[in-house]
Amino acid sequence: MNLTNYALQQILNALSIGSLYALMAVGLAMVFGILRLINFAHGDVMMVAAYIAFFCLSAKMPLWLTVIIMVVGTVLVGIVMERVAYRPIRNAPAIAALLTSFAVGQILQNGTLLTTRFASKPVQIAFPAPPELSGTVALGALGVSRVNLIAFLVGPILLALLTLFITRTTLGLSMRATAEDIGAAQLMGIDTNRVIVLAFVLGAGLASIAGLLYAVQAGQINPYLGFTPVLKAFIAAVIGGFGSISGAMLGGYALGFLEVLLTALPGLGDILPASSTNPALIAFFKTYLPGTLTSYRDAFVFVILILILLFRPGGILGTAETRR
């Protein structure tokens, strides 16, 4: 394979994975920015979206209708979650809130599992990819899977809309004010409860799009699929400085590139054209970065997370905070 094409392919992969992470991470960051709550159930919200999409697509609904039902359904889940579980513990210690979010995640997982039992479906289901999202597109010499291309396009569009909303509307302004200081915002007459619900609504909506794209990419769904994405989204948010929305977007793409780099660099020794490359370089890659290292990717990513938490708790762009 041509090396330039290989690099282009990898960059496109990074951008499309990054879009998914960024869509997830902004939801986490919005809620954390206001409530100081790490909402681990966010991954399960995404999972619920994938299941709603599955049931709609299985009923032979067109994609546009599926997307509408999915977004509305997921947003409702987000609203109920906030009202029933998170509002009663708003003043509880941070740990209690974190643990509650795990419990909420368990409820969503087991609820979904129970639903699939009632629908007599297996735990692991093949996802019926709609034709608009399947197959590959020829982009010059590159063959790109259509879902990757769509993720690559949809991610930035939605994130730009979110940024416009937050910076240009009154509601967005009150959201930023609430994140800055919830008490002061209340005194200024902002209905902070409404703002908090809004954060959950926006987060759930974006997560649902990520959920659909993720399900199509993975090809199959199960009630536990949200666990890894929410961890990744968390890392993305930490990279961007937790609580900052633009930071979370940036962190999502940074993590996408990091992951693709960790996947693509090891094993490069087998891909580099032997005729035109310095043999010492190939030997270097084969010795120090063998292809088998790829399977350690997630471990490396988490080591990087821990390093950032320790040394740059304010994120790669942020200032060094004292509390972490």
């Binding site: 643990l99 419990a103 961890l231 968390f234 080591v303 821990i306 972490r324």
Partner: protein, 356 residues
């Protein structure tokens, strides 16, 4: 505050009430021994299984309580220690022929090690394997803890969760030692009720002694207010790290017991499901309470065993997870410290009953 007030009032009558409590606990231990004898001879594998599980969960919850409930530094990575303990101990006790057939790429020094249950007339092999696994994991915890215990609040939880993921990735990839993501089976079923409850007694005793020691008070003090604790000269790293390492040791011990009980496991056995289950038990019982570490597992296990019967008969899997998660949220909302908080049950009444 209230804890201090309580201990001040109780010092006036300390000796007799403490004696009565001790007699009460001793009485309970005797009842437990009788129960184990009864269970061992009953031949009911279902009840033996339930009580073995209960004992292992009690150790897990007590040690997690030591690391998290006592110190407020919430670890979500403890099941990673358990996984390491299970694999290490199982590799040590695997018979040589099985090892040669099945883990044929082990390094030579490990391939020739076989700690049989019996060393001479004493059942030392399993004990030794468990302790070695515990110590090795405690060393890992010392290294990990020295780094992670610097964080606080939510971030330490997520960092330890990261540790859990890292352990899983390493276990899956180190297939020379662990058979990768395939099931590690053929472990000899050494674990019985005596082993489990022996370790329960050791764990509860250590954790209880620690709670009432200067180290324990330092743990609780920095949990309540880091700045105030520092201002009276408590170095916060030391109690945190001690709690983390000791609790990793006991968690690894459970790993060994667990491995030699279920006899086959894979990296997925020790992941988030188990983590959440143990945390539920701890939160239900009480964060910071030793007697809560017993009550939590009893309640949660009773509920989940009951619901599992329903799940099995109706095929509606998910009910038990749903109910436990709802229970969890109710407890966190209504009683944030768990049923007991950091208080202990006084068994003095039992002791006085025995005196009469």
């Amino acid at each position: 505050m209230t804890a201090t007030a309580r201990s001040l009032t109780s010092t006036t009558t300390a000796t007799p009430s403490r004696r009565a409590n001790r007699i009460g606990v001793f009485g309970l231990a005797l009842v437990m021994v009788a129960l184990i004898v009864l269970l061992q001879n009953s031949g009911s594998s279902v009840w033996q299984g339930i009580f073995t599980n209960l004992g292992m969960f009690i150790i897990l919850v007590a040690s997690l309580n030591l690391a998290s409930g006592f110190t407020g530094v919430f670890s979500l990575g403890h099941i990673g220690f358990m996984a390491l303990g299970a694999y290490l101990a199982a590799i040590l006790t695997l018979p040589l022929e099985t090892k040669a057939a099945y883990l044929n790429r082990l390094p030579a020094w490990l391939a020739v090690v076989h700690l049989d249950m019996m060393v001479g007339p004493f059942p030392l092999g399993f004990l030794l394997a468990t302790i070695i696994a515990g110590l090795a994991v405690a060393l890992v915890a010392l290294l990990v803890g020295a780094v992670l215990m610097r964080l606080s609040g939510n971030f330490v939880s997520v960092a330890t969760l990261g540790f859990l993921v890292i352990v899983r990735v390493v276990l899956i990839n180190a297939d020379d030692f662990t058979r990768g993501s395939r099931t590690f089976s053929n472990v000899t079923p050494y674990t019985d009720l005596w082993w489990v409850y022996g370790w329960v007694a050791v764990t509860l005793y250590c954790v209880w002694r620690l709670k009432n020691s200067a180290f324990g008070r330092a743990m609780f003090a920095q949990r309540e207010d880091v700045a105030a604790a520092q201002s009276i000269g408590i170095v916060i790293m030391r109690p945190r790290l001690l709690a983390f390492v000791l609790s990793a040791f006991f968690t690894a011990v459970v790993g060994s017991l667990w491995g030699h009980f279920i006899t086959s496991f894979s990296p997925n056995t020790f992941y988030f499901d188990l983590t959440f289950r143990v945390i539920t038990m701890m939160v239900v019982g009480g964060m910071g309470s030793v007697s809560g570490s017993v009550i939590g597992p009893v309640i949660v296990l009773a509920i989940s065993e009951g619901l599992r019967r329903i799940e099995d008969s109706t095929q509606l899997y998910g009910i038990s997870g749903l109910v436990l998660a709802i229970l969890f949220i109710i407890i966190v909302v209504a009683r944030p410290g768990g049923l007991l908080g950091d208080r202990e049950i006084n068994f003095g009444w039992l002791g006085r009953l025995a005196r009469r």
